[in-house]
């Protein structure tokens, strides 16, 4: 598996990328099923989880000393959780926090690209011109 991932990194071959994605669709379905029964159709969850898998395939560094499935699992779960955060709102979250959360999503993406790492809460608050408490509230509500 790591050989394929290394080959993908070196060649950028779409055929290898497809093969890697297809060979992990079982993991995708397994994780998606864990989030079923929360008001979202399983097919949608599988699609969301597949996006997480694609991101994991594209981001995985074959030199890391972890198995790909270990790396991919939290990426896929994170994508599923984000889906519920953005669409599901399992509990009632104030509109102010919903809006802040949506805004923070793009702030976090941009900062992650700029910094080449995940940002801290302080960095997110500064970039979003809000307070750290607000960022934490939004983060907590997104995982409610």
């Amino acid at each position: 598996m790591k050989l394929l991932l290394r080959e993908l990194r070196e060649t950028g071959s779409t055929a290898i990328r497809d093969k890697l994605i297809e060979s992990h669709l079982g993991l995708v379905e397994y994780l998606a099923r864990r989030f079923a029964g929360r008001g979202e159709p399983l097919d949608d969850l599988i699609q969301v989880a597949t996006i997480g898998l694609v991101k994991a395939v594209d981001r995985f560094d074959p030199d890391r000393e972890v198995e790909f499935s270990t790396y991919a699992t939290p990426t896929i779960v994170g994508e599923l959780k984000r889906h519920f955060r953005d669409k599901g709102w399992a509990v009632r979250v104030p509109r102010r926090l919903q809006e802040l959360n949506l805004r923070l999503g793009s702030v976090v993406s941009k900062l992650s690209q700029d910094l080449q790492r995940s940002p801290t809460i302080g960095e997110i608050a500064e970039a979003a011109t809000t307070t750290e408490d607000e960022v934490l509230q939004a983060l907590d509500s997104s995982h409610a």
């Binding site: 779960v77 994170g78 976090v108 801290t120 809460i121 608050a125 983060l139 907590d140």
Partner: protein, 136 residues
């Protein structure tokens, strides 16, 4: 709300913090909130705080799912040691006989997001603990 909550200024939080909540899913949000506030003080990244939330959900969820009789309370203790945050979650009733605390799923999740996952049992009460170490 103050903008100066000490984030980034506290390098070493030596206190041990214990939160005790009624053992029900909605209250686990209080544990997540405490965890993220502490992790932010330690300048953990957004991704790590998300990992912390996932680990807490999974561990607390497994205690609720595997205890018999159902626990009345969950006690979660946070300890900070340098750049590492240790979390220990305990119910107050024993694990159901023949029950496996970790499922394949929970093991995969916890191995991926946290380190040093441990299960201890004392006086019939199960405690699960793990660590997260600040990156970078």
């Amino acid at each position: 709300m103050s903008t100066d909550r000490g984030v980034g200024t506290i390098r070493r939080v030596s206190d041990q913090i214990t939160v005790r909540i009624p053992a029900s899913t909605p209250h686990i949000g209080l544990i997540r909130a405490t965890a993220s506030a502490l992790a932010a003080l330690l300048e953990f990244t957004y991704d790590q705080i998300s990992d912390l939330h996932i680990a807490i959900d999974e561990v607390c969820g497994r205690i609720l799912a595997t205890s018999n009789p159902a626990p009345r309370q969950l006690e979660v203790t946070f300890r900070v040691d340098g750049d590492s945050l240790s979390v220990q979650a305990c119910g107050d009733t024993p694990m159901r006989e023949g029950e496996q605390f970790f499922t394949t799923f929970s093991k995969a999740i916890l191995d991926a997001v946290a380190q040093g996952m441990q299960l201890t049992e004392s006086d019939g009460v199960v405690c699960a603990s793990f660590q997260l170490v600040k990156k970078g």
